[in-house]
């Protein structure tokens, strides 16, 4: 009875004839698109099928008003081999609102991004689950640490898929020639490291503590920050364009995305206690073009970093230190249709400890050569990432061809080299040849 009355009331309030028009209007302001992708990789060492992923990434945008837009991007993925993330990986490192859904062992679904864009005058706001990218370097991370990464495929995955989007508030306020970006990230989601047994599980002693064989090891639950406000991350970036230079000044107060593995060594057992630690990161970036060259760089100073230490004197098997790191990159476009880019990354810890597993100064260099053919419809590229400390590295070769406007095929090879203890060398058995198809809808 009451329900009926309400219906009548609602009907009289709403002009029913306007409803279809409203819906039509709404539909006009909604756009839908999707990218479907299938990628298969064959291992070169054992020539087995390493992976065969089929994914779909739908995207919906809705213009609610002239100044209000809602964007949602999802991801559904079938990993037919179930080798990258065997079973259903734990999600304790993710906040409850940022978790994935599993359908069986092989399918996972995720709301990747979901945000509202709006602006007040010149001030712009993006509110919701999103990716925030800082820095000038490609692939090397000094300032690009706002979002945590998922290392399910180590660093072979696209950037887009590697970053884990976070719930955040992102405010951009122009103040004369400077744009201030204020970010607030209450989402306590951290790096996703493949679990033991996964194809790209980390084994390098640089990251995995060397523990005595005969003493039992147990894990205590990870000490994860839990306070919505007190444990949120905040950051400020000031950027400007001055005298031809793009300059930014960055500050981020955040939890480092990797848990620190404290080792409590007892006489007859070892308890590993993962704990997330706070850090201040202050840094800046610059870039400018000179003739055919583009110079870009970023530098960052991070406090409270932890690195593994074998020093018997170190109580928990880790060493606390500040870290200063930078990337310097030089791009060259002086040859027609070619893009050549070289980068040098160096990281220096301020408190060196003789037992520290990493070197005091850690250096990596990258070299990218890309060439376009046939009016940009065919692209070939070579990327070399090389660790100057360990002499190991990764070479990636790829050829991508646009079959149609919205369909492309890519053939690529990823080759790891160097000692098994190195960051890249640890995967030297994982060299692979891949083919992927991508269709835009």
């Amino acid at each position: 009875m009451t329900l009926l009355r309400m219906f009548i009331l609602a009907g009289s309030l709403l002009n029913f004839s306007a409803l279809p028009a409203f819906a039509e209007n709404l539909m006009d302001n909604i756009s839908f698109s999707a990218i479907a992708k299938s990628e298969a990789s064959v291992g070169l060492t054992k020539s087995e099928l390493q992976k065969w992923d089929i994914s779909i990434r739908p995207e919906i945008t809705m213009d609610i008003s002239d100044d209000l837009r809602l964007t949602a991007i999802g991801l559904g993925r079938l990993e037919t081999r179930d080798a990258l993330e065997p079973g259903r990986p734990g999600q304790s490192m993710r906040s409850s609102l940022s978790r994935r859904g599993y359908i069986g062992d092989r399918i996972d679904v995720e709301l990747r991004e979901f945000y509202l864009d709006t602006s007040f005058g010149d001030t712009y706001l993006r509110l919701g689950k999103q990716q925030i990218v800082w820095g000038q370097a490609d692939g090397l991370r000094v300032l690009d640490v706002v979002n945590p990464f998922n290392f399910r495929e180590f660093i072979l995955d696209d950037f887009e898929d590697r970053r884990i989007p976070l719930w955040a508030l992102n405010l951009e306020i122009p103040i004369s020639d400077i744009t201030a970006q204020l970010i607030w990230l209450p989402d306590q989601t951290y790096q996703q490291i493949p679990e033991p047994g996964a194809l790209y599980a980390i084994t390098s002693p640089r990251f995995v503590p060397a523990l005595p064989q005969n003493i039992p090891v147990s894990f205590s639950p990870a000490q994860k920050p839990g306070n919505f406000f007190a444990d949120s991350d905040v950051g400020l970036r000031l950027s400007t364009f001055m005298g031809g230079w793009d300059l930014t000044l960055n500050y981020l107060y955040h939890y480092q995305d990797n848990a620190v593995l404290f080792q409590n060594k007892g006489p007859d057992n070892i308890i590993l206690s993962p704990e997330y630690k706070r850090s201040h990161l202050i840094g800046g970036t610059f870039s400018n073009a000179f003739g055919s060259f583009t110079l870009r760089g970023e530098i960052g100073y991070a406090t409270g970093r932890y690195f593994l230490s074998n020093d018997p004197a170190s109580r928990f098997g880790v060493q606390n230190t500040d870290e200063i790191s930078y990337v310097l990159g030089l791009d060259y476009t002086g040859i027609k249709d070619m893009f050549i880019s070289a980068q040098l990354f160096q990281s220096l810890v301020t408190d060196d400890d003789p037992g520290m597993v990493r070197d005091r100064l850690d250096s990596q260099s990258t070299l990218l050569i890309e060439r376009n053919f046939m009016n940009d419809s065919l692209k070939a590229s070579v990327l070399l990432i090389h660790s100057l400390n360990d002499g190991d590295g990764l070479a990636q070769l790829g050829v991508e061809y646009d079959l149609y406007d919205n369909m492309s095929v890519k053939i690529s090879a990823d080759i790891f080299y160097g000692h098994r203890h190195g960051l890249f060398g640890q995967f030297s058995a994982n060299d692979r040849l891949s083919i992927s198809f991508e269709i835009g809808i």
Partner: protein
Amino acid sequence: MTQNKGIFPSTPAQSFFWSMVNYRWPIIIVSLILLAVSASFLPKLVKDTTSDAFINPDEPSLIYRHKIQDLFGLSDPIVIEIENENEKGIYNPESLLLLKWLSDEIQKLDNVDPDKLISLTTQSNIVGTADGMEVEDFFDVLPTSEQRINWLQGAIEQFPLYQGSLVARDGKATIIVAELIDEKKSPETYETIMELVKNAPIEKNSIHGKNQIHVAGVGAVSGYMATYIGNDTKRLNPLAGLIITIILFLAFFTPRATILPNLIVLATVAGTFGFMAAVGVSFFVITNGLIVCLIGIAVADSLHIFSQYYEEITARPDASQKELVVRAMASMWRPVTLTTLTTMAGFFSLWPTNDMPPIQYFGLFGAIGVFIAWAYSLSFLPAILSLLPKRPSRFFSTPARHKTHGRTARMMKYLGQRVLNNPKKILVAGSLVILLGAYGSSKVVVEEMRIENFKHSDPLYKADKSINARMDGTYYLDVMIETPEVEDLYKAENLQKIEALQTFLETQPGVGGTTSIVDYIKQMHRAVNENDPDFYNIPQDDLLIAQLFLLYSASGEPTDFEEEIDSDRQLALVRANMNRSSFIKNRGVVRDVEDYLKTHFNSPEITATLTGRVNVDYHWIKGIKESHLASVLVAFLAVISMAALLFRSLWAGFFAAIPVGMSILVIYTVMGFGDIWLGVGTSMFASIAIGLGVDFAIHTIDSMKKYLSEKSGSMQERLLYLYPSTGRALFFNFAAISMGFGVLLTSDVPPLIRFGGLVAIAISTSFIASMTILPALALILKPAFLLNTSAKMRLKPAAISASLLLIAVGLFTFYSNKANAQNLPEASQVIKNVIAREEGEFVSRKMTLQLTDRRGKVRTQETKAFRRYFGKEKRTVIFYTAPRNIRGTAFLTYDYPDVNVDDDQWLYMPALRKVRRISASDRGDYFLGTDLSYEEVKKESKVEFSDYHFKSLGTEEIDGFKTIQVEGLPVNDKISKELGYSRVVWSIDPEIWMARKIDFWDRNGNFLKTVTNMDIKKIDNIWSVQKIKAVNHKTGHQSLLSFSAIDYKKTVKPSMFEQRMLKRGLK
């Protein structure tokens, strides 16, 4: 004849001069004929003393100013002031009748635009009447009665527009502003006006106080400058000649060594300026300085030759005159040639590094003059000398090195002993000079004020100061207001903007007052409201404003507002009167006003551009520092590389550079501490000082090498030989040149005084440093290039490379600067019209790219593109909207008006989620997979004027449209490489000034591609291409760009062109 037992002539040089002397009569005759021929051109020499002559004719601010001149007839007027210090000021019958008389007389002058004469006698009063408004000329009734004079005074006091601009605010002065028809004739006009002033009916002992007349204004400055400098140089040049003659006489004490060099000076000056007249280059204000320069330089060669000649007489008392001449020439031709080359390089470096034509020509003709002096010294001088009987000079009775006769030789020897005994002290002192110089250089400022070219006691200078103190100012900063539609300036909102601009301008330092049509409108508004001061404002009603104009026209002259607004009521000129012309003081104002215009006048409804003399001056003076530094650098490098080549040692290059480097630093110190600014005149000193000063170093190094190669004596002893011989010659060389320039110190023209003084100081420093620092350094460092006796001075390779270098630079600059001016007025005008084609301040449009490969495979991409001008800077942003895999890609460009500044470009790649800075130098790269280059996409069917030399080829009909074919060849290889083309042919439709078809040839000369502009339509009154097809004939690939939803009216926000927009994407 006197072949000295077959050992003479023994060298090729001797043989050469021997045969030359044998042909002396033909040489003398040809030399004299050439002298006569070049002198015959001299009467053709044209003087150009306008300040615009200093500005590169392509300078945009100058071009714009000419446009204003055409539109409003306003440029650089002559301003005549009548001043009366009496209590009632000019409001007395005598002053006013004098004003009437003067105005009428000036209006009658040939070169004065009678319609543009602004004076109380030509202006009208606007007053309210019962039925509206009445326009009455102030001088409708001659103001002779006290009543009429009081009326006039009252009317002016009620008319704010005229206060300060026409009548001094205290009533003590009034001005007549006379616009000239031809600025180049300003000297004559100024003289005529001064004549009028002299004959003006002025009552000496009047009861109304004494009337004084002052004449100033930029027009007068230009006009008087010619006379002023002309008079000055008429006195200076003979004086310079006289001084040089005295020096020559003191040096040799013989008539021949005094007279012959003067003949060479004559030939040099006549030859240089005759050549100048023959090729039609004008004689500019600063060209006066060149005469004195050449007098000093032309004698230097003969000075060294005579020195050697007299030494030869002493060494070979039995030789014949002919042999002595030949020997002297054979041993001096090398150093003389080398110093000529270095001096030429110094002058010449002004040509490519400067864009002020007077300075360029100063450099070019300076170099030519030095060359003529050299040629005459090496041919005419020995020819004549060999005719004269042998006669020694009393100063050369003993061999040079042992010479103790003569005061100069003794003085130089004494100097040598002091230097060689204290080499370390000398070097310390030298270092201190360098340090002081470095500090002094930091204090040099760039400044230029033409009025400061006059002595402070000069009537024109006083007039300028007086008028600018009393009135609002005679230097104009103008703002041109433009609106899109006819009668837009009747709109109250537009007028309010103009009023606000005037208020802003009036707050600027140095601005005495402003005038614009708004002042008249306010006056009219008050008039129709019974002269109620409360109505001295802009009416809110657009219709009322139009009516005011209508009412005015009922009784006023139709041409009355010609100087403020055009007849379509679409364009207006706002004029700010400034009372100073200082670059340093005005540059802040110019920048502030530019900023103001950028923020307040950037809508499609109303735009504004800064112009006027003050703005033009700002724009060209701004470049003085850069061109000065460039010319110093080029001259310096030329000197170092020449000396290095000559002595086959880089160290020798640096050695030679030390004295000139020090002289430049000393000059900067003098300028820095003496408040001498770096202006037009002074910016040239350095190159010339380098070119002249290096001679001392080269002679010194050459001589040190010679004496150090001798086998006997300590190094110190051997170096001492330098002083009485070469040192003495250099002393007279120094004396001749520095006193030649020193003559300029007696000039009446302050910039010439400064120029002469500075060069004299530089020469002195070079001389002293060559005589002290270089031997001291040699003694301490013992450099190999001095001691290595085997490596003789290699003249040939050095001279050949140096001459080749000079010729190459010369050809290059001549080709790049002149060639295009000569053969292309027509084609370049076509291209200029294309460039000037209206594009609208901003545009938004959709662009679809259809890319088809050889096999017919088609890819389609959709974009939205926006473009907006920020002043002259053009920003473009393109957002890709489809297909899905590239959606979100965005491309942003800032294209700067200065062609030498690379664009700034950014690319947003959604896959990386990062805005990436990309380099923009590769203009010829294909734009994102299309067949159009970045340059073509950016230029939107236009072209960069400075990239090509243009030539008209003929006409061609395309799709029934008649087009003009213009060929463009890249100006140099670098540009050709950048663009990727060796040749481009545009088929330009003169109806719309847009190419309908463009053909391109690649770097190897192969036909590369054809771009066709199709579906050209007028949208929002702007010709717009709707389809561009580009076919690459080599790859078979083609691109079709289709534009839709083209909109020039919808404002594109400035924030659209920020990097963060790329990331955020398009709504």
